[in-house]
Amino acid sequence: MILNTRPNIADSDGFYADLLAAHRGLPEAESHAMNARLVLILANHIGDAKVLSQALVLARAES
């Protein structure tokens, strides 16, 4: 499997708004904790080690 970096969310504006809404009202530390849980949940959903490793590289890269 190869990491899909093509747009894959039909309503990306809607998702982005939901993401911010999920964080609204949380102190920053709790937001970070929520993000960490979210990463773990999504990683488990993906499962594929190769995909996860490519995602880690993409996320870590400096601009």
Partner: protein, 512 residues
């Protein structure tokens, strides 16, 4: 070159000498929406009287991006071709983060439409064209006529108007408040806006400069020339460029407006000092609307009913959407063809349209000025990824450009292309002579494709079936009948239909 404002002639109105007979419609405000409304009504046989407190077209470019749908509406009003000829047609947008282009988009307009995706044209030109058109239609335009009070009775409304020669009263069956974002009529009626007010200020400037900038939309997040904020550059006709600069919420607008503050900033955007400041304004972002646009015999149209933050071109275009939805209904009510309840359809559809505009504008505003903390973190992460991963690009939000909304109509539908479903504007296409948008006109029409339409006394358009018409209206079906409203919105469609079926759908289209 800078626009030369020619004042329009003030003529002392008859009402100063003796009471005028009750008018059918008074339109308050001769901006683009009030003027378009007056012409649209005149096209439906209703002559309105237009009152404006001023006697010139808009100062400054203000609304500049006119969408394809707006150009189609302006075309129906008689000024579309002029607007396109004068305007700057653009389709490429570039988005920068700091000093790097992150990505660009091409609106990739489809072939076979009379009007382009977007045209940049200063509001003063659009107003000038509309004024000339209104004058040609003998519409009563009263300059320097300022409404200072409004009194709403059961079956009419009266307004008190101040002129350079004193004040007078006018009565009308209908009063249309097209008096802008700070609508005095709204204020006089004590109506409140609901929604969000953002603590974000933007400076807008029109500058005149010689140069060969591309006809593109350039948007910067956190540019090096304006750290931490955003900026937008648009080309307009006559070597006028529009620059929008985010100021942050803690700035003093009066200081920011001073030419000695503005000029150095603009120098940084364009890279030289060889330009002339034409107009400067500061505005606060807001996304708010009236709960209802219909208040008995007083109707709100355009910015008086809803205001959105810019960058989606949803102010002027949203207002023309209102005109499109209201004109045929109000004319039918005045001409005795429909009951006043038909105006509920205007209220419902345009509240829906306004909500779509407000939602998109709020999201864009949040992306441009995220709250400190996690919002900012996500925003910066999206910008960071956008240069390297395709998926993040659609998440970058520098404004979602205006599209006509698709009204949620409950109407007969069939297995035909989604782009022409009930509630959507009937797609344009070239015909043997002219264009579909021109052929549909200003009344209810039946579009008969590959078959005959039932006989009901409705005008029938029966074009030759080209590939383009098949693709946009038929898909794999051999034939279909479309019922199209006067605002060119698809009211219903069938593979085949009886006269009774069309009559029922027609009836339904009038219901509020």
């Amino acid at each position: 070159m800078a626009f030369a404002h020619q004042p329009f002639d003030y003529v002392a109105p008859a009402g100063l000498r003796a009471p005028e007979p009750r008018h059918k419609v008074i339109i308050v405000g001769a901006g683009p929406i009030g003027l378009a409304m007056a012409i649209e009504l005149a096209n439906h046989g209703v002559l309105a009287t237009v009152l404006d407190d001023n006697n010139v077209v808009s100062v400054g470019s203000r609304a500049i991006c006119w969408s394809k749908r707006s150009l189609e509406i302006l075309d129906r009003l008689g000024v579309g071709e002029r607007s396109v000829t004068k305007g700057v047609t653009w389709k490429v947008g570039r988005t920068f983060h700091r000093d790097k282009e992150v990505f660009n988009f091409d609106l990739l307009p489809e072939d076979g439409h009379k009007m382009p995706a977007f045209v940049n044209l200063q509001q003063y030109f659009v107003e000038e064209y509309l004024v000339q058109r209104a004058q040609a239609l003998n519409i009563d335009l009263r300059w320097k006529n300022r409404v200072i009070s409004v009194d709403q009775k059961a079956d009419f409304a009266s307004v008190k108007v101040v002129t350079p020669d004193g004040s007078y009263m006018l009565e009308a069956d209908w009063v249309l408040a097209c008096d802008g974002a700070r609508s005095p009529i709204r204020e006089m009626m004590g109506l409140e806006f609901d929604g969000e007010l953002f603590e974000e200020r933007f400076l807008i400037a029109d500058i005149e400069m010689q140069g060969d900038f591309a006809s593109e939309r350039w948007f910067w997040f956190e540019p090096n020339f304006h750290p931490g904020q955003s900026a937008l550059l648009h080309k307009q006709p006559d070597n006028i460029y529009r620059i929008d600069l985010q100021l942050g919420w803690d700035t003093d607008p009066e200081v920011e407006k001073r030419p000695e503050t503005v000029s150095p900033r603009i120098e940084k955007v364009v890279g030289h000092a060889d330009f002339k400041l034409d107009w400067i304004s500061v505005y606060t972002f807001q996304c708010r609307r009236l709960r209802s646009f219909v208040h008995s015999n007083i109707l709100f149209v355009g910015d008086s009913a809803h205001v959105v933050s810019p960058f989606g071109a949803r102010g002027g275009n949203g207002g023309l959407g209102d005109v499109d939805a209201l004109g045929w209904r109000l004319a039918a009510v005045i001409n005795g063809v429909a009951a006043p309840e038909a105006l509920q359809g205007y209220d419902r559809e345009r509240c829906y349209g306004a909500d779509e505009n407000l939602l998109n504008s709020s999201r864009s505003t949040r992306f441009m000025s995220p709250e400190p903390g996690i919002e900012r973190l996500f925003r910066d992460a999206v910008l960071h990824l956008a240069g390297r991963a395709d998926f993040a690009r659609p998440m970058v939000n520098s404004g979602r450009l205006s599209k006509p909304c698709i009204y949620p109509l409950v109407a007969p539908d069939a297995d035909l292309p989604a782009g022409a479903r009930p509630g959507a504007v009937a797609p344009d296409a070239p015909l043997e002579n002219g264009w579909m948008t021109e052929a549909l006109g200003r009344d209810f029409v039946l579009l008969a494709l590959g078959c005959d339409a039932p006989e009901l006394g409705l005008r029938v358009v029966k074009p030759v079936l080209t590939d383009m018409i098949r693709r946009r209206y038929l898909g794999d079906q051999p034939q279909a009948v479309y019922l199209i409203r006067p605002d060119q919105v698809v009211a219903a469609r069938w593979l085949s239909v009886s006269a009774a079926g069309v009559a029922a759908a027609l009836e339904q289209s009038w219901e509020g």
